[in-house]
Symmetry: none
Subunit: 189 residues, 4 copies
Amino acid sequence: MARPLSPEKRNALLVAATHAVAEQGVLASTASIARRAGVAEGTLFTYFENKDVLFQELYLHLKDELAETIMPDYPSEADFRLRLEHVFQHYVRWGVANTAGRLAIARLSASGQLWDETRTKGMEPFLAVSQMMEEAVQSGVLLDAPIAFLYSIIERIADTTIEFVERQPDNAERHRQLGFHAAWRAITP
Amino acid sequence: MARPLSPEKRNALLVAATHAVAEQGVLASTASIARRAGVAEGTLFTYFENKDVLFQELYLHLKDELAETIMPDYPSEADFRLRLEHVFQHYVRWGVANTAGRLAIARLSASGQLWDETRTKGMEPFLAVSQMMEEAVQSGVLLDAPIAFLYSIIERIADTTIEFVERQPDNAERHRQLGFHAAWRAITP
Amino acid sequence: MARPLSPEKRNALLVAATHAVAEQGVLASTASIARRAGVAEGTLFTYFENKDVLFQELYLHLKDELAETIMPDYPSEADFRLRLEHVFQHYVRWGVANTAGRLAIARLSASGQLWDETRTKGMEPFLAVSQMMEEAVQSGVLLDAPIAFLYSIIERIADTTIEFVERQPDNAERHRQLGFHAAWRAITP
Amino acid sequence: MARPLSPEKRNALLVAATHAVAEQGVLASTASIARRAGVAEGTLFTYFENKDVLFQELYLHLKDELAETIMPDYPSEADFRLRLEHVFQHYVRWGVANTAGRLAIARLSASGQLWDETRTKGMEPFLAVSQMMEEAVQSGVLLDAPIAFLYSIIERIADTTIEFVERQPDNAERHRQLGFHAAWRAITP
DNA sequence: TATGAATGAGGTTTCATTCAT
DNA sequence: CATGAATGAAACCTCATTCAT
């Protein structure tokens, strides 16, 4: 079966794309991404049909990575607050440890080049979280609002928290607590 | 460069750029912007040195527009909560009435093409707000956190609010109240 | 109105394309055509939307050129044989004087890249000829066959004649007479 | 190169190439030909040194196929007219039954990519025909002209005949007679 | 030998910018 | 100053060919 498609090469391309997009946004050239990944320009196109598709797959890859940080030891039995704090703090942890990934997601998300379908697919791995929030809304623990609204608020406050942890790493712990408290207060009655 | 002959033309270019960037992000071509503005391709470059500069000036222009919505009847004598609510609700009002402008700001802000200097300049018209927040922190009304952190949270919750008002215009009033309450609770002890 | 599109430049591009296509067929690169025409690579695309369109327009341009050789002093009052001989001999004259043009037409025509619409349009300037042939068929001077069939035969014999005139220029006159006699006998009962 | 392992594969490639060239001319990609033949991209190059060589061999292969239709029961003892009619009608028969092959020959022949050597080689299997014509010229049955000229005329009229038989299959017989009569009249005094 | 991923030169086209009009 | 044709670097992508498997 000749040389099989190499997962390492595909990964190298995604990593290269992550950094390129983090730095230059969607203006990053396919040539620069290939160079960074250490493959020929043409090779990029055996792994990704075209630049647009590369961006969609990159977004999904990063979301999956994030999900893998958050979901594995998600405490599905704990109380709502602990579960949310788990999500929040793991989100922040990933964001801090993964500046490029976080930036790339933000750049792609706001670029105007992301397909609706991609955005929707990117939410799938977090299904358990939104289900939990739905329950929490019904039980009166969370504000009576669309969960997308509540989720969005948490996400935004987490993003802000990440930024401040990065700006002042010494105060990391304080910002993370501040951040979660703000988020929790924001979405509870 | 200093005082171009036609403020109308400059404005038409900024309006065109707003819509083009809202739709296609920084990949919008200068030609498409000029066409939209009803001027020749080359004319764009007599009003803006190059594409990068156009983007910086567009960002500042939009921030100024936003400031003009928020600041004129800012109730500098009212209590902190009222002042903040003024800012929040006017921000939301502008955002809802100015989808393209809001999107363009978001796209530029996350594009990786915005200069730090531009970002800083964009905050100047809102000086009174941050001063107020600083006082509020000192007087214990707001959380003891960097005001940039608090401001960022408000901004993000306001953005989220705008999105939901746009998605469900019928529930506009409810979302605006929900939004402000969430923001207020998030940043107060 | 700035610099107007230059007919000279457009013509230079068509001439360059004629020679490039005559030499290398549709594999001729747009870059090589632009270089030959003495313009920048990008300029080609301000005159022709893309390579395909260039080829269609080139074909029509060459057909027009041919028509201008044949049609101006077309003896519409002469008898059928004289009229046909006029067409035949002028066709041959143009072909001999215009090797590149003739080759380019042949290459394009057999390339599989020519649109049906283009082929149809290319026949318009020769309307008077096909009308004459139709009359001649009805009056019994020509074979009772589709005129397209008859026309095609004349064309092919003329092409063959051109080739032999080119191979043996000394026998030009003889070949031209031979060619027309063959054609005339072929299509008359 | 000399004796490839699988004549079936080589043949599949030639058949695939015939159809690909008939449809897209010399712009047909080697990948598309390989796919059509049901072999891997690289395999094409174990059977044909490169794309150019593939085209030359394809042309010769098709000419051989044509020769095999015409030559086997060539009536070498019949009179000139019958012999020529045999050639003409078998040529037409092959062309009608082999649209792709006929088109491929035409595309290659006019592509500008065919080597002179290839064109010459392609005429070899028809040697008997040109010898017969030479005799016929000498005996005064055919026009006193270069036999290449006469042959070319027959070929062109046969091509035209094929086209019209394809366009109007109902009139096949009529067109074939019309065609041969035209050809015969064209080349006899 | 057959496969198809890998390569990178080169193809077409876009586009920011310049400059003749 | 306004125009838009002209420019050519550079973008994306294709594709003939090579080569590891």
